[in-house]
């Protein structure tokens, strides 16, 4: 989809065109759902939050004032995710562990070695554990940059902070992740055991 198409779809959405907006939904739903799931680590909650994000985006499309549309969606999704995390932290409505999303099935490994697969699964579990220990801001920065591979400017736009702030948060997040994963050194690849 070209940028022009996106702007045209946004304009049509402003006029109340559901079909135009749903084309945007199809374009971005994977990205939004992935970030939300990495943040809240609960699949059912992530689905609800993603749906709410798009509904909210449709209702507030008139307030979109240019910029990266995907980052605007991420901002809505991030706010909804943080609201959810605050709610469960305050009321304990849902235990994250009940439906926790591990990366164990999502770490790519080209080798056909079952031992390597098992190690990767454990490593992914360790990473998931350590990412869960990060603060929301640090985790979001790491998910956006290191996991999902977005650029700094898009991440900064979605958070509403400067690029320098994103870099600083990412730097601290990486340092804390390093400290955390090194507690289980035997699970780490050789390159990480230095």
């Amino acid at each position: 989809m070209t940028s022009f198409d996106e702007q045209r779809l946004i304009q049509l959405t402003r006029d109340g065109d559901y079909d135009a907006f749903n084309r945007l939904v199809v374009e971005y739903q994977n990205a939004v759902f992935a970030v939300v799931l990495r943040m809240v680590r609960n699949r059912a909650a992530a689905e609800d939050i993603t749906q709410d994000t798009f509904i909210s985006a449709f209702r507030k499309i008139s307030s979109y004032r240019g910029g990266i549309f995907r980052a605007w969606l991420f901002r809505i999704a991030k706010n909804a995710s943080l609201d959810y995390l605050r709610k469960i932290a305050r009321w304990g409505e849902t235990s994250i562990d009940e439906d926790i999303v591990y990366f164990s099935e999502t770490v790519k490994d080209d080798s056909q070695d079952p031992v390597a697969d098992a190690l990767n699964a454990e490593l992914a579990r360790l990473i998931e554990h350590c990412m869960g220990g990060l603060s929301d801001d640090h985790r979001y920065a790491m998910v956006m940059i290191d996991v999902e591979g977005y650029q700094y400017d898009e991440a900064a736009d979605s958070i509403g902070v400067s690029i320098g702030t994103v870099k600083s948060r990412l730097n601290r997040a990486r340092a804390r992740m390093r400290d955390c994963v090194q507690q289980d050194r035997e699970l780490l690849p050789a390159s990480m055991r230095l």
Binding site: Y18, F21, N22, V25, V26, Q29, N30, V32, F33, A34, L37, R38, E47, T50, Q51, D52, F54, I55, S56, F58, R59, S63, Y64, R65, G67, W72, R75, N79, L82, D83, F103, T106, V107, K108, D109, L123, A124, I127, M142, D146, V147, E148, G149, G160, G164, K167, S168, L170, N171, R174, A175, M177, R178, V181, Q182, L188, P189, S191, M192, L194
Partner: protein, 340 residues
């Protein structure tokens, strides 16, 4: 640490963070590589840390992308349901939000300020609130005397203003009405400190009805706390009940020279006389008994009404309006921050 703080204070970038991030991501420039190498030279463990971070990043990059499990297409029914589910509070919060905690602060300030302006305006129009300098400087209301008599234990500052000139019979009825209202507020503030017999007009002894101040003297002499104010508050009621229709206790607003209402007003004026505001004849037994009652139980100190901060009503209203405007401005700023 101090250098980092200063850099942050003046908004200067910490180049080492940029360099380290770029080095870990593998896209550092030659200058950044040079800077990181210098840092490694100073800190031997940094090389190991950065290697670990590079390996960690490569693992994170190998995580497969997540796909949405279903379509999140939006339908008109979903939008209508979402609009219907919004509670009033959530709508307000949504208007003011980037984050609900921040959102409710300017909203609450704006609402409080607006309500304050409305109440003051209504009070000004209806005459309940009057901060005109003439009324405050020329007379002491019963409530003020009451405040002094109770040594400031329970005061009702908002009820202290008493419109009307005590020397003007035409305004005496209004003054009395205001004093009644003020005194009621003061009596409410006193709460349990006032005996039931003193605060209920119907249960006051008959002699109090015939001679309110005499009853006042008796009750004042018999207790530690001067009960003058409570009796005074109810004196008009007591005084009216024997002579007036027993069913009508709303004659406060009328002016009758022969009635005990006038007696109560006279009593109030005698206080002014004591304070030197009005020349008294000094022959009234009411006055002498009142003085006796006060002399027994309290150190009576009349505080000039212009003591402390006295903000004219219009200035208060203007301040609240400014506060409301500032809160709305904060709300607009928050919405802008959120990008809406």
């Amino acid at each position: 640490m101090f250098r980092k703080f200063l850099n942050r204070l003046i908004g200067r970038k910490d180049l080492s963070i940029d360099a380290v991030n770029a080095f870990v991501e593998g896209n550092a420039s030659s200058d950044e590589i040079q800077l990181v190498e210098n840092l490694m030279h100073d800190n031997a463990s940094l090389e190991k840390d950065l290697s670990t971070q590079q390996a960690l990043r490569s693992v994170l990059g190998r995580i497969e992308k997540i796909e949405a499990p279903r379509s999140f297409a939006v339908t008109p029914e979903m939008v209508a349901a979402a609009a219907g589910q919004d509670s009033l509070l959530s709508r307000v919060a949504d208007l003011f939000a980037p984050q609900q905690r921040l959102a409710l602060a300017p909203a609450a300030i704006a609402v409080i300020a607006a309500v304050g302006v409305a109440l003051l305006t209504i009070g000004d129009v209806t005459g309940v609130v009057d901060q005109s300098s003439s009324s405050r400087s020329e007379s002491f209301s019963t409530a003020e005397i009451f405040e002094s008599a109770t040594s400031g234990g329970a005061s009702s500052p908002g009820a202290a203003g008493a419109p009307g000139n005590p020397g003007d019979p035409g305004s005496s009825a209004d003054m009395f009405t205001t004093e009644k209202a003020s005194s009621s507020a003061a009596a409410t503030a006193v709460g349990a400190g006032v005996p039931e017999s003193a605060s209920t007009g119907d249960s006051v002894a008959p002699e109090a009805a015939e001679a309110p101040v005499a009853g006042l003297a008796d009750s004042s002499a018999g207790s530690e706390e001067p009960e003058l104010p409570s009796i005074m508050l109810e004196a008009p009621t007591n005084a009216i009940s024997p002579d007036a229709d027993d069913s009508d206790s709303t004659v406060f607003g009328s002016y009758d020279e022969d009635s005990s209402v006038t007696q109560a007003q006279l009593e109030s004026r005698e206080f002014h006389t004591d304070a030197g505001v009005l020349p008294g004849d000094g022959s009234s037994s009411i006055e002498s008994e009142t003085e006796f009652a006060y002399a027994q139980d309290t150190t009576f100190e009349l505080v000039p009404s212009n003591n402390g901060i006295s903000l004219p009503l219009w200035q208060l209203q203007a301040s609240l309006v400014a506060l409301a405007i500032a809160a709305v401005g904060a709300w607009a700023g928050l919405r802008r921050t959120r990008g809406e």
